[in-house]
Amino acid sequence: MTGIQGYPMTRRNDPTMKRMSERLGNYEIPLTALKDGEAGIIMSISGGGYGRRWGFEKRLADLGLTPGTRIIVVKAAPFHGPIEVLVRGSRLALGRGISDRILVKKEERCGRG
């Protein structure tokens, strides 16, 4: 995972992204591809070159966003705003650009919904 560029930015409502997350539930998808109320397991956080100066990966990790951690998307603020998540019992607001760089595996929906 080297190079100056991160992976392409995705939009939460992008239809291809949506379809992919439905069909390939077990693939790594950005956090922004999860719908409100869905949960995922963090696989990796990588900005490529982004955020090295202010250590965004480290900041996230310090808040408990480490690989293997369960993360629940509560909701997204409107107009492409930040995303509200629950991680390790705390409620965080993460900017959209950051959320795009958090890769998760979607958790299969369990019976209780």
Partner: protein, 648 residues
């Protein structure tokens, strides 16, 4: 003789640390800055059981990485100043994440006591914690507390003293990581044994594996070979785990925190959401959230101004009532007029104008902040703030700016990096504060109509966006984005809020007053020496030729540096009338107001800029704004003359 000991409070943000601090120290506290830093340092003293205890409230942090100033300061304080005991305040309702910092404190091998705070909140969330078990697992005394009700504070202090007196045997458990990591930590720690450093060898080993830049620098001065060894070991780990080294260590540590948390807590999710939950859903709702926010902000300003007007009127009536008395005491000579007009009027102006508005504003702001609402506003506004290159948190100082630019500039400290801080501060000084609003409404609003006043506000916001965007492009460095905790809603703790308001007010007075007084003195002196006319004449090419204003307005521009609302008062004095329509045409009114809105931060704001950004930063911002305002004023004058000329 009383024995003097030091206790440091450490913990995450929003865990009730400052409430505990206030309980312990009462009014015996001092709020300043860490030497050479813009991070707040709160200290206090307390007498207990024959001890004089100095209490230091360390900044709220989530970890001891060195990406933020707060974290660096807290870590350095603990290892170099070696407080007698560290009280680690942790939030019982978010145990796992709080333990992450606890583990790092343990690795620093500092004597400590844990305050397991917000037990009531945890209970509401259905979290039950086995305190004894937690104590056993960590090997550190744990005192359950509910700080906002004062529960457990006494026991906490007693326990801290016991630890200092070594009455309780404290043997912190050793933290062990996964096999591959642990092996390498031990190997490195061995190599570090003879290194001279205030940090314990094992801590150094962990930090070197993690790639902590500050520690790396420190060690490579003594023994660059160890750093090379650490890099090699870290690379091995990276190959095994497939993540970078910093992530590996952090994950490992969280694994430990998670295991402890799961071991000591039992969670039964309550059947129905709590009031706080409900309030959160509504106030961050994608539709409802915005009207609620606008209503809250509007109420805040309304309350501030109503309270401020009332206070201001009472105070000025009283203080200006002293004028005849003082003048009769002082006489009417030139020195006396200088003292009265320069110094005393300066003080009165500060007291009657600044304080009545700032005190209520701070009070309401801190009430909102303590309750948790401010972070919701930042959540809602993040996207809009991104348009000017900032993120949600910057909305708070920006909003403060509408009250007064001084606290707003100080408020820009919440931004994470220097780049963001400069950007936010710059944008903040463009916001029309209450004094500038007086000009906008008193001149344009009154004589041209409210719609003109409002369009000036719209123009202002547009310009803030444009200039913010421009500064965003010009400033070197990388933009940060929003990473923010939204703590659960809770009833604000009034005493803490009042104290915060009080100490902030003191800070404001300290920064603003000396300059307001010195400024009025200088201007009064210039006036008495007849220099004002000279300066106005000197400025007249700009004021008359370029801006199309009466020559006398040069004097107003000078007074405006002191306090913006003085410009209007001076205008009235200069023309001998408050019917400005008879002396200024509409274009002149608009140009005058626009220049007033942007041309320079007032002297108190400049002082705040110097404090936050240093002389250079303050000078650059001030110069840029003067040039910009004059350019804009001249261009507006030409456009408006054209438009008005055509319609007439």
């Amino acid at each position: 003789m009383r024995k003097r000991v030091t206790i440091a409070l450490a913990g995450n943000a929003n865990v009730g640390k400052s409430v505990i601090f206030n309980y312990l120290t009462g009014l015996h506290q001092h709020i300043g800055n860490w030497p050479g830093k813009t991070v707040e340092r709160a200290e206090g003293t307390l007498h207990f059981k024959g001890y004089t205890i100095d209490i230091i409230d360390l900044p709220g942090i989530y970890s001891f990485s060195t990406y933020s100033l707060e974290e660096t300061i807290a870590r350095r304080y603990i290892v170099t100043e070696k407080p007698d005991v560290v009280i680690n305040v942790i939030d019982a309702s978010i145990l796992e994440r709080n333990l992450f910092l606890t583990l790092q404190l343990m690795e620093l091998e500092t004597p400590m006591v844990i305050a397991l705070n917000q037990m009531d909140m945890a209970k509401k969330k259905g979290i039950e914690i086995d305190v004894k078990r937690l104590e056993d697992l960590l090997g550190i005394p744990v005192v359950p507390t509910i700080a906002i009700k004062g529960i457990g504070i006494f026991q906490l202090l007693e326990k801290a003293i016991e630890v200092i007196e070594r009455k309780v045997s404290v043997r912190p458990s050793e933290i062990r990581y996964g096999k591959e990591v642990e092996e390498r930590i031990i190997r490195l720690a061995e190599a570090l044994r003879n290194i001279h450093s205030p940090y314990p060898p094992r801590y150094l080993a962990i930090k070197l594996l993690e790639g902590d830049e500050e520690i790396e620098k420190e060690i490579s001065r003594e023994n660059p070979k160890v750093v090379a060894l650490a890099r090699r070991l870290a690379r091995e780990l990276e190959e095994i785990h497939g993540h970078d080294r910093s992530t590996i260590i952090t994950s490992e540590r969280y694994m430990v925190a998670s295991r402890i948390a799961n071991d000591v807590q039992k969670i039964t999710t309550p059947m129905k959401p709590s009031m706080g939950e409900l309030l959160h859903s509504i106030t961050t709702h994608r539709i409802l959230g915005y009207p609620i926010m606008i209503f809250s902000l509007f109420s805040m300003f309304y309350l501030t101004f109503t309270l401020g007007n009332l206070l201001s009127e009472i105070l000025s009536e009283y203080l200006y009532g002293l004028e005849p008395l003082l003048i009769s005491l002082l006489g009417k000579g030139i020195i006396e007029r200088l003292i009265w007009g320069g110094i005393i009027e300066g003080i009165i102006a500060g007291v009657t104008i600044a304080i009545p508005y700032i005190a209520p504003f701070y009070l309401i702001l801190y009430l909102l902040e303590d309750s948790g609402y401010i972070s919701r506003i930042a959540f809602l506004m993040d996207n809009i703030m991104h348009k000017m290159g900032l993120h949600g948190k910057a909305f708070i100082p920006l909003m403060l700016g509408y009250g007064c630019n001084v606290p707003a500039c100080l408020g820009c400290r919440i931004m994470e990096t220097t780049r963001e801080r400069i950007l936010a501060t710059f944008v903040t000084t463009l916001v029309p504060c209450a004094a500038r609003s007086v000009i906008i409404f008193g001149l344009v609003g009154r004589f041209l109509g409210i719609e003109w006043a409002l369009s000036l506000y719209i123009l202002n916001i547009t310009i803030i966006f444009v200039l913010g965007r421009l500064a965003f492009k010009i400033l070197p460095g990388e933009p940060t984005a929003l990473i923010m905790e939204m703590p659960d809603y809770r009833a604000p703790h009034l005493k803490t809020v009042l104290k915060q308001t009080w100490f902030r007010l003191l800070e404001f007075i300290k920064i603003a007053f000396p300059l307001i007084i010195a400024g009025s003195f200088m201007i009064k002196l210039a006036e008495l020496l007849g220099l004002l006319r000279v300066i106005a004449d000197f400025l007249s090419p700009v004021t008359t030729l370029w801006l199309g204003l009466p020559a006398i307005s040069g004097i107003m521009l000078i007074f405006g540096v002191l306090r913006k609302e003085l410009m209007l008062i001076m205008l009235a004095t200069a023309f001998g009338t408050t019917d400005f329509a008879s002396v200024l045409n509409p274009v002149q009114m608009l140009v005058f107001t626009i220049v007033a809105m942007f041309y320079i931060p007032c002297i108190a704001t400049i002082a705040a800029l110097v404090k936050e950004l240093g002389w250079k930063g303050a000078l650059i911002i001030t110069t840029v704004e003067i040039i910009f305002a004059i350019m804009l004023g001249g261009v507006t004058q030409r456009i408006l003359t054209l438009v008005f000329g055509l319609t007439k």
